[in-house]
């Protein structure tokens, strides 16, 4: 009997309990359905609908790089790559397609067979499809004019590469997995269970992507493949009744032809003809000589890597997230692929190349084109096409013809940029680290005064692209390149050099601006700055000839001081300016101020060297120099040195040319630029005293045009003048700056194996006993080291214009590393650059 305390009997209560459980379960189901349809409904619908659309990318081209006269410096080479799907390369395709075919042919029977029964049948099918692939490779070899062996090697190479990439990706995934487990507090072991293993070894992108089997084929080969790309053929396959059947298969499965995306640099090699009669007398000849320069503007243009790396994709994705304007430009238009599906049309895929250095890297996002898209709506059959957008062109302010001529002037072949006997004063000893005949490295920058345009920016040695393609190890594994020459460094903007005496014109302007110099009063040259210390802060003329400039001029005025480059005068100005005054002067002229010459989207300066000013705070005995962007400590002793461009200050040839151009504009600084597009950097009036600028220019004029000036003539027999371009007015200043020594050890690391090997340059380096300080004392060199480079950097900076109106139009800065005298080495090179400006119609 039912209990009287309950309205319902136990059986009925149990029924209600059961119904309750069932309704509860259904409520859970309903909740999940509501989550899928309502909460995630929009997202899932888009995902589902995206499958109704097939997409096919249409290739695009990379933008060009042009010079200021619209000459093409870099462009896509019109050639094609023949690509084949990885699964076809490995032969997996045959196995997969054969399996699918067998399953279809045998239908229900297939499912009931055991693996042992299936295998022999499968083998027959696979053989048929494998045969088709074999014929395909023969055909590709024939059309592609390649041997089948080479093709087979190429396939093996691709498989090896993908396998090794897969292994490294597996390792990375495993590391992430273990890290995640550790984060979750789980115990980890090196053993990986099957599940995890399967997940970690899921296919990588490269296993599903096409790979280039024939690269850079000419048009006719590319077109021949294109015609066959979508062809089909009949293939005889086994059939379940024991006979055979014909099936349609692609003639060349998985084969696609795409533009190779190879870069062509038409002005990489340029032949320049030079008038030998304009050279200094020791190498002067009648007639002309054709100099062929290679790697023209290499440092500016940069180069490409064969295929983009993950960092490239990540960098691009990050920019897409952070820069809405960029995202809007590169993404597919809203609504094209569903309401919220926006794909990056410039995303890196397969064998896409990417910029590796220079402008090709800095302007990658602009140069890279946007793919087109063919879209087919499977439900309606509707087709739409989004045309590809070629990459944007980038135009430089560089004149590539001038650039080539400047590089020719700096080519050792011409004889100026190579250590010569006539670079030394009579009786002077030759620098033992650069014996006669040693090629000299350096940099030159030409800036147009009125606009701030950089017309030429050369760094030697450059890297010939021909060599880069043929034997890159000849560049990157060469011991001399690794230890001294470093051709990959752009010396015009990327390496610190002490300014030396060329800074004197700037110090003069700064001293007047900051009220430390009355131009009406003179400063005597006393030979050494401190009367009781004749070994310190000496004038160069006192050091060499033991007399003083005041012996000739009495107390020097500013013009005379610049003309003869009197150290005492500028030590005094440095002393008067003090640490802060010197820093302010250098910074005013551009030191430490980022230019972003290449127009990087993130605004960074990349490889540009911002300059050094002062010493960084440090506990070590020799404190490191501080970046000029945030100058460090400058003692009064340092300030005195920096008055003549020595001490803790370093800049680049670009800084020098820029500073002189500013001086030429009367103190108006136009930040120099390399790319012909509006810049965010603004023109600035430094507020220099006009009379100081006039005096400085007068001093620079006298330095070059007065026979007593340091930049007037070559100090050899006959005293030939430096500058011999008819009708050209030149203002200028020499500089000879003490350079940091390059010491080497007896062993180096092998660039390939990383093991120590004997240093191949050991015999070419100089023992410390050969090197002496300026006072004849032995230099502090570690006993196990030798000296590879030592001496002075040679500077010459000029302003040049027409003699008729005596207005400076161009600023030219030349710096030659470890070359010695500024006037003797860099002077003739500047003269050749002025000839080049004349030849190109600028002067």
């Amino acid at each position: 009997m039912a209990s009287s305390s309950h309205l319902f009997s136990m059986f009925h209560r149990r029924l209600m309990l059961l119904m309750g459980i069932i309704l509860l379960s259904m409520a859970v189901l309903g909740g999940q359905i509501a989550r899928l349809t309502v909460v995630q409904g929009q997202e899932l619908r888009e995902e589902a609908e995206s499958r109704l659309v097939t997409r096919q990318w249409i290739p695009t081209t990379r933008g060009r790089i042009l010079d200021r006269k619209n000459r093409v410096l870099a462009q896509d080479r019109p050639s094609f790559d023949v690509n084949v799907d990885f699964q076809v390369i490995t032969g997996e395709w045959a196995v997969r397609v054969a399996g699918a075919r067998a399953r279809r042919d045998y239908g229900e029977r297939w499912r009931s067979m055991s693996p042992e029964e299936r295998q022999p049948i499968l083998d027959l099918y696979i053989a048929a499809y494998q045969g088709h692939l074999d014929r395909m490779w023969s055909l590709i070899a024939e059309i592609g004019r390649e041997t089948e062996e080479r093709l087979a090697e190429r396939r093996q190479e691709i498989i090896r590469r993908v396998e090794s990439m897969k292994a490294s990706i597996y390792a990375a995934r495993l590391a992430r997995e273990l890290e995640a487990r550790l984060d979750r507090g789980e115990s980890i072991s090196v053993e990986v269970d099957d599940q995890t293993h399967r997940r970690l070894s899921r296919p990588i992108e490269d296993q599903q992507a096409p790979h280039t089997i024939l690269g850079r084929v000419p048009d006719e080969v590319g077109f021949a493949f294109m015609r066959l790309e979508n062809e089909t053929t009949d293939l005889e396959v086994p059939s379940p009744n024991g006979g055979s059947a014909l099936v349609r298969v692609p003639l060349l499965p998985g084969l696609t032809v795409e533009p190779s995306g190879d870069r062509d640099y038409p002005f990489d090699t340029v032949s320049v003809d030079v008038d030998l009669s304009t050279l200094p007398p020791p190498i002067r000849q009648d007639g002309r000589k054709v100099i062929t320069v290679e790697g023209v503007a290499y440092h500016i243009l940069g180069r490409m890597k064969d295929r983009a790396h993950r960092e490239d994709s990540e960098r691009r994705a990050a920019r897409r997230r952070s820069d809405p304007e960029f995202a809007a430009r590169v993404e597919t238009p809203p609504g094209l692929l569903g309401p919220s599906v926006r794909l990056d049309r410039g995303q890196y895929q397969g064998d896409d190349p990417a910029g590796l250095s220079g402008l090709e890297l800095a302007r990658e996002d602009d140069l890279r084109g946007l793919r087109g898209l063919k879209i087919e709506q499977l439900e309606t059959g509707e087709r739409r096409e989004l045309p590809p957008v070629p990459g944007r062109d980038v135009q430089l302010t560089i004149d590539v013809a001038l650039q080539a001529r400047v590089q020719a002037a700096m080519s050792p072949e011409l004889g100026l940029a190579v250590a010569q006997q006539w670079h030394y004063a009579d009786g002077a000893t030759v620098n033992p680290t650069t014996p006669i005949g040693t090629p000299l490295n350096g940099a030159a920058v030409v800036i147009e005064v009125d606009s701030g345009d950089i017309l030429a920016m050369v760094s030697t040695p450059s890297i010939p692209r021909r060599l880069l393609e043929q034997s890159p190890e000849a560049i990157f594994a060469d011991p001399l390149n690794l230890q001294a020459d470093m051709p990959w460094i752009d010396r015009s903007i990327g390496r610190p050099y002490p300014p030396g005496s060329i800074a004197k014109a700037l110090i003069l302007s700064g001293a007047v601006k900051f009220g430390r110099l009355n131009l009406d009063s003179g400063i005597p040259c006393t030979g050494h700055l401190f009367p009781d210390q004749p070994q310190m802060y000496r004038c160069w003329i006192y050091k060499q000839f033991h007399f003083t400039h005041s012996d000739t001029f009495g107390a020097l005025n500013a013009e005379q001081a610049l003309m003869v480059s009197c150290n005492i005068y500028f030590f005094t100005l440095g002393q008067r300016l003090g640490g802060q005054g010197v820093i302010d002067t250098y910074r005013m002229f551009g030191l430490g101020r980022p230019l972003n010459l290449f127009g990087r989207p993130d605004g960074s300066s990349g490889d540009e060297f911002l300059g050094f000013l002062g010493f960084a705070p440090s506990s070590s005995a020799i404190p490191p120099p501080a970046s000029a962007a945030t100058p460090g400590r400058v003692s009064i002793q340092d300030a005195i040195q920096m008055g003549i461009g020595q001490g803790p200050v370093a800049w680049t040839p670009l800084h020098a040319a820029d500073a002189y151009a500013t001086l030429a504009r009367g103190g108006v600084r136009i930040p120099p630029h390399l790319i012909n597009e509006p810049s965010s950097l603004e023109t600035e009036d430094l507020g220099l005293d006009p009379r100081a600028v006039r005096e400085a220019l007068a001093g620079l004029w006298a330095s070059v045009n007065d026979s007593r000036g340091t930049g007037h003539h070559l100090g050899i027999e006959g005293r030939p003048v430096h500058f011999n371009v008819p009708g050209v007015a030149v203002w200028g200043k020499t500089g000879t700056a003490t350079a940091p020594r390059i010491d080497i050890k007896a062993t180096i690391q092998d660039p390939k194996t990383g093991k120590p090997i004997p240093n191949p340059l050991w015999d070419r380096a100089v023992d410390r006993s050969v090197i002496t300080g300026s006072d004849g004392s032995e230099l502090p060199i570690a006993s196990d080291s030798r000296v590879l480079r030592w001496g002075d950097h040679s500077w010459f900076v000029v302003l040049a214009g027409h003699a008729s109106d005596r207005r400076p139009l161009y600023a030219v800065a030349v710096m030659m590393e470890y070359a010695g005298s500024g006037g003797k080495v860099s002077g003739p090179i500047v003269n050749q650059i002025l000839h080049a400006l004349r030849a190109e119609g600028y002067l």
């Binding site: 029924l15 059961l18 309903g30 359905i33 899928l36 995630q40 399967r198 439900e379």
Partner: protein
């Protein structure tokens, strides 16, 4: 000190309960009963099934007019199901009860036949490695496990109908043994999914028959604690599905998206695409086709219906199942006969668990195991079975014993 040991008094054993034969009983036949609700739900679901299968398979609306072949066959199966229902509804269910052990013997014989070596493939052909079907003629395949479901309900109900032994813990053992034979044979096929349905059905019947809930709870608790120990013995693909499910529930939409979770993700995507009210006819067909939902007309037909009719449609389908189950339980409630009561509960338990498991795997709550959705999935055996179940409900509903009758499963001392 010695004392004479007195014999310990032995409590008198309760007299064994005599096997009670069914007393002669007078019956009335009523045509007004809750069983019709189950018929109504079954008819609605079956009709929907024809359309659902057409949408799932006949994806290219323009190519062929009319219904796709499977939909037509399904309509024929429904007809056969109606006949089966009528056949099952007509004889008195007590008669059917007396035949239950015979039916079980036939089921077991057929299940053994499936496993016999040497049976030609024209009769028993393994599908995906499972020997579950007997081919009869060219286009009908009998699935003995379906027959076993009904026999199992009948036998268990028949066994429990006058007993009290299952109210003791060890009294549950013989009931378990009844289940053991068909469950063991089906597991050998192997068809783990179907096996899993027997357990909730058995539990439902035991609950209704008055088994103590704490006993059942102990079994459930013990089973859940033992479950992890079984994991190492599962086959790799079964393990993979469980791991995949865990990832899924954690919200990881990447794990196994192309492999083990492919089916589940595709089904969820399609289900979700329906939104609140669903997609149009043609659009749904295109979505099903190009999303490549496997077994769209079979295991995953619920996703297709979600895509077509959205959340509201899905709720409607669940409501129809609730109606069928509710109807069976109402019939049980109204029924005075213990055998009839337990049959209704057992059938409701089977249908409910099958719906929950199938829908659960369609929407990513449960691992993908091959279980069909009653009335909606394509298939003859399944359709005939569920209609036969419906016939049984009607059978029990329309026969009412006239007083006096014995009370059944009425216990005072339950928790």
């Amino acid at each position: 000190m010695t004392t004479a040991s007195l014999p310990t008094p032995v409590p008198p054993r309760p007299a064994p309960r005599p096997y009670v034969r069914e007393a002669p009983q007078r019956w009335a036949v009523s045509l007004v009963h809750a069983g019709w609700l189950a018929v109504l739900a079954a008819l609605a679901l079956s009709s929907l099934s024809i359309y659902g299968i057409d949408v799932a398979l006949h994806t290219d609306a323009e190519a062929v007019a009319g219904l796709v072949g499977e939909a037509v066959k399904q309509a024929i199966f429904i007809g056969a199901g109606l006949v089966a229902a009528a056949v099952v509804a007509l004889p008195h269910y007590r008669l059917i009860g007396r035949l239950s052990w015979a039916a079980m013997s036939v089921s077991i014989a057929l299940l053994i036949f499936l496993l016999m070596p040497g049976v030609p493939e024209s009769i028993v052909r393994p599908v995906n490695g499972a020997r579950a079907w007997i081919s009869i003629g060219s286009w009908f395949k009998l699935q003995p496990a379906e027959l076993a479901k009904i026999s199992f309900v009948l036998c268990t109900a028949h066994y429990l109908r006058f007993r009290k032994s299952h109210r003791r813990f060890f009294g549950l053992v013989p009931v378990g043994l009844i289940a053991a034979a068909p469950v063991g044979l089906i597991m050998l096929q192997p068809d783990l999914g179907t096996v899993l349905l027997f357990i909730p059905a058995l539990f439902a019947m035991l609950m209704a028959a008055g088994a103590r809930l704490r006993h059942l709870a102990i079994i459930v608790a013990a089973a859940s604690m033992a479950a992890p120990a079984v994991y190492p013995f599962l086959r790799p693909h079964q393990q993979a599905r469980i791991v995949a499910l865990v990832h899924q529930i954690q919200g990881d939409r990447q794990h196994g998206a192309d492999t083990v979770n492919y089916q589940s993700f595709t089904a969820q995507r399609l289900a979700g695409s329906g939104g609140l009210v669903g997609n149009g006819d043609a659009h749904t067909r295109a979505l099903v086709r190009y999303n490549r939902l496997p077994e769209a007309h079979n295991d995953f037909i619920f996703s297709v219906l979600c895509a077509r009719f959205g959340l509201l449609g899905a709720a409607g389908v669940l409501a129809l199942y609730a109606l069928w189950i509710g109807s069976a339980l109402l019939v049980a409630a109204a029924c005075k006969d213990p055998f009839g009561r337990l049959v209704c509960v057992g059938l409701a338990g089977f249908i409910a668990s099958q719906v929950v498991v199938n829908v659960g795997m369609n929407i990513g709550l449960l691992p993908v195991i091959g279980i069909t959705l009653p009335f909606l999935s394509y298939g003859g055996s399944s359709m005939i079975t569920v209609w036969a179940m419906t016939g049984l409900i009607v059978n029990i509903a329309m026969r009412k014993p006239l007083p006096p009758f014995r009370p059944s499963f009425e216990y005072e001392d339950d928790e």
